[in-house]
């Protein structure tokens, strides 16, 4: 009967978004009078997995067949579906990520589940099972009634603020049957920035647009990001021009983020850009044009030249 939560590790540590998902799942379990079980797939340190207990999981399942060492949305979905069956779970929670995105749909297909993507609040059980989700790239919200017996919730970052206890959870190994057909795709090579803060996971984001004039000036953006321990992002033209890698592009056709703080430097604030960032808690805009549309969607603004303002901000952060 338990609520099942899929969790991920990044560089050996439970992802922050997974901690949030566990806490969310534990709350749903509380509301529905059951317990929360976390499931991790692939290589993971058991003592790290046990920390799922701190966020409310009462048990952790760990599937660690060597075939599961590399992230594989299809095979992972098979494992999680098997776990949902074993646990008799009627609610499955995942934190949105590129791996989770690849899994949720396959899971929904396997379990014929009612699926809500981009969930931003705890469900309302007053009248059926209703969840609020972000639609039209953050321009609106929908209240979705999930009518199927099994419900899958893919939650957005900053949906809930986890509270921690010092309880750890027991870790059981889980070895369901795997399908050969899930292993037909071969990954030839992977290119991944290491040590950087992953943009979708970041609490603080410093983003910049065409106002930076060229890639040679990004040092100013990176300096502020580093001082703040923030991730860096960019507008679409910036990634189109190859000034920055595509995975930093935020907006309607890029990554959608909801950090605590989004600092936009030399970005005009086109509606397609805003769409991907407007669910950030606090938005700061720095633009030399006082009429830039972005100021209308900002909490704090500075009309000024990024080349002068950025170094001053970086120095001020270092002085904090």
């Amino acid at each position: 009967m338990s609520v099942l939560i899929f969790v991920e590790l990044d560089e050996g540590k439970l992802k922050k978004s997974s901690q949030e998902a566990i806490f969310y799942g534990a709350k749903v379990a509380e509301m529905t009078g059951t317990t929360a079980t976390a499931i991790a797939v692939g290589q993971a340190d058991e003592s790290e997995l046990a920390t799922a207990g701190r966020f409310g999981a009462t048990k952790v399942l760990h599937a660690r067949d060597t075939r599961l060492n590399e992230p594989n949305g299809m095979a992972y979905a098979t494992v999680v579906a098997a776990a949902a069956q074993q646990e008799g779970s009627t609610v499955v929670v995942l934190a949105k990520s590129s791996l989770a995105d690849a899994m949720t749909a396959r899971l929904a297909g396997k379990l014929k589940a009612g699926l809500a993507a981009n969930v931003i609040e705890l469900p309302d059980l007053g009248n059926g099972f209703v969840v609020k989700s972000s639609i039209y790239t953050g321009k609106a919200f929908a209240y979705n009634e999930l009518k199927a017996g099994i419900k899958i919730l893919a939650i957005k970052k900053n949906t809930i603020t986890p509270e921690e206890t010092d309880t750890t959870a027991p870790v059981d190994s889980f070895s369901p049957a795997l399908n050969d057909s899930d292993f037909v795709i071969s990954v030839k090579s992977t290119e991944k920035a290491t040590g950087d803060i992953l943009l979708p996971e970041a609490d603080l984001v410093v983003s910049a647009g065409r106002g930076m004039k060229g890639p040679e000036n990004w040092g100013l953006v990176e300096d502020l990001a580093q001082a703040l321990h923030a991730a860096t992002a960019c507008s679409k033209p910036v990634s189109d021009l190859d000034w920055r890698p595509h995975h930093e592009h935020v907006g309607q056709t890029g990554i959608k983020i909801s950090p605590n703080l989004y600092i936009a430097c030399g970005i005009s604030g086109a509606i397609q850009h805003l769409a991907g960032v407007n669910s950030s808690k606090v938005i700061v805009v720095i633009n030399k044009d006082a009429d830039a549309p972005f100021f209308k969607s900002a909490d704090y603004g500075i009309v000024g030249d990024v080349f002068e303002v950025l170094p001053r901000l970086t120095a001020a952060v270092k002085a904090l």
Binding site: G73, A142, N144, I185, S186, L199, P245, Q272, Y300, V303
Partner: protein
Amino acid sequence: MKILVCVTSVPDTTTKITFTDNNTKLNKAGVTFITGPYDDYALARAVELKEKAGGTVTVLNVGGADAEPVIRKCLAIGADEAIRVNAEPTDAYFVAEQIAAVAKDASYDLILMGRESIDYNGGQVHGIVAELLGLPSISPVMVLNVDGNTAKITREIEGGKEEIEAKLPLVLGCQEPIAEWKIPNMRGIMTARTKPLKVVEPVADEQLTAVSRYELPAPRGTVKMIPANEAEKLIQLLHTEAKVI
């Protein structure tokens, strides 16, 4: 090569979204509908692959008759034929079931669509279609080349990308820079009028989800401006007032 491209008809990206009927329906008044921008990338790449290696491109839309201008535009861009499943696209599973029903016996080599629609942003349809058809799914695909029976793909992952090889048939969710968006030319628009557009009825099924109502985000408070020559103050405010750093 037989390629199926699934397209959505969605409000133009500049649309200010509002609702009617007690917040239960999108207000379509004055809204321009366009092909989903990600679907447009998928279509552009499908047409390029066809031009290079031969074959056919079929466009599929699950939607009402009001989606036909978008479908015609896809034909004008270079698709050969179109199918419209005559139903409101209410839920990802439902749409995926319709696509799977069309594709089941049609032996497409590639089923392409955008990584997500820009209305519900679920990004789930391709995965469900693949699951229902028992095929592999890969998303978001940034580069797609086909060599005989093998697709060579670059997929974006968090903080990077990976190179993938997989045998056809495949279901792929696409995004830039897989191809440049194509604009129909005069000849394309003329020939699109005579290309076949078949309307089929949906396969019925239970509804797994339903939207009970919509809501608009609360407006942000007024912006607090800080003079550029006191830029340091911003950091103080973020620390002591907004408490985000």
